[in-house]
Point group: C2
Chain length 264, copies 2
């Protein structure tokens, strides 16, 4: 159903490395391989419960580190699958393309999230992944991961967990898209985002949206105007304060109630 067959130019990171900054809209810089040991993100992005030896083995999987500017793509639908990406910092969206040209945001990813696993079973990426702000990602070559997860059970479990979490998330989105009204969708989205930001050490009640109204709408299956209207409505009702992309959750409980259809 999705357009897997597009003929976008595939970006080969290994090839890119030699060209470095000569190509516009491409890779900005590569760090040295596997700098995970000193990485601040270690608690979020690396599988937990690894011994030091196992950790080194994991770190050795990271082949390239890539920095992206706003609007740059990590990969495009149709690109050959090389491996999965760990988001170190920033904000990324994934976009699915229909054969008839329609497209839809299928996910938002931030520090600690795994990207690109939907391609594991195939040859090409089925979606685009595009940076919504300056972001850092690490590439883990799938072949190496496959080998290593032979030896290290924790790695295998890590991968399986990541895959299954993704399924559960998409399934939850299916329910949202299939059975919720516009205000419930927006409330769910905000609470979800809030929780994920909190888990990463940010404020749960006040944050900056990294995506446009159109991207939110695309993700939630509604139009940007509807997103805007719901924001205004929730603000008037005193649950929220919204100013452009700055959001402050005022009444958390009421927002939770909105999510569950319980309209006051």
């Amino acid at each position: 159903m999705l357009a897997h067959t597009l003929t976008r130019p595939a970006v080969d990171p290994v090839f890119m490395r030699s060209l470095q900054s000569k190509i516009p809209d491409a890779v900005e810089s590569f760090g040295s391989a596997a700098p995970c040991r000193g990485c601040r993100l270690r608690p979020t992005c690396v599988p937990t419960g690894l011994s030091d030896a196992e950790f080194d083995q994991f770190a050795a999987l990271v082949t390239t580190h890539r920095r992206l500017k706003t609007g740059q793509a990590i990969y495009r639908a149709g690109d050959v699958f090389k491996g999965i990406y760990l988001v170190r910092s920033g904000f990324i969206k994934t976009v699915a393309l229909l054969e008839d040209g329609r497209e839809q945001v299928t996910g938002f990813y931030t520090a600690g999230d795994v990207l690109g696993i939907d391609a594991i079973g195939g040859v090409e990426h089925p979606t685009d992944a595009v940076a919504l702000e300056g972001s850092d990602v690490c590439l883990i070559a799938y072949e190496r991961l496959e080998e290593s997860s032979h030896d290290v059970l924790a790695l295998q479990r890590y991968l399986h967990r990541a895959l299954s979490v993704e399924i559960v998330r998409k399934q939850a989105m299916m329910v949202l898209l299939g059975s919720m009204r516009a205000d419930e969708r927006v409330a769910t989205f905000l609470l979800n985002l809030s929780e994920r930001l909190m888990q990463r050490g940010f404020s749960a009640s006040e944050f900056i949206l990294r995506m446009s109204r159109e991207e939110i709408g695309s993700f939630l299956g509604i139009k940007l105007e509807t997103v805007s209207r719901v924001f205004s409505k929730l603000q008037k009702a005193g649950l929220l304060q919204v100013e452009a992309r700055h959001v402050r959750i005022v009444d958390l409980e009421a927002l939770r109630a909105t999510m569950h259809h319980e309209v006051a």
Copy 2:
């Protein structure tokens, strides 16, 4: 977002085995372990490219074989995850439950499909799986699969493929639910079903729906009345012949066009 915490009675297949037919609405019968060698489904349900030795290893994973009547559940949301299920025959739906009681069909599964993999990363199943007709399933204990996929790379790949295929499918459903109109959804659903049945050796143009209008609607994010109206409309337009659950695709190309928004 999904209701993982329900307290439905967990069914333990090992325990059930000793009780056999004494429990109503439970397991009807167990076959002997691992009868895969003679199984007609071998080409559809077993990973391809296995050597004989590897095949035996795979067959050894199948711990129980279970026969279900219409309406019986393989597992319920909240049940402890034991392993994944291969559908040998029949038709199964999975249902996700929201905390507020709403529910939605999240997938239909038939011979050769893998069921329950969304639970791999967790402890409990996040969804119900219910038989829509008399069905057979095989349980593969996850612990054993985990061990074996250590040794047999083909098994590991098989599992990864199954997981990633599920993600891609759910993603495609997200696009459908997020951006398609009712008639596009129904057309997509029928074409999808047609293709899957064809892959299994059945007619692509004429088949019996195993699910009710309500279940179709739930899956597609529309009401049963809308499903019914779309069927009638497509029939009037000469693309389809529908009589209750008997469907005949008359104009395949026009149906494809409907799916892509190109209304004649």
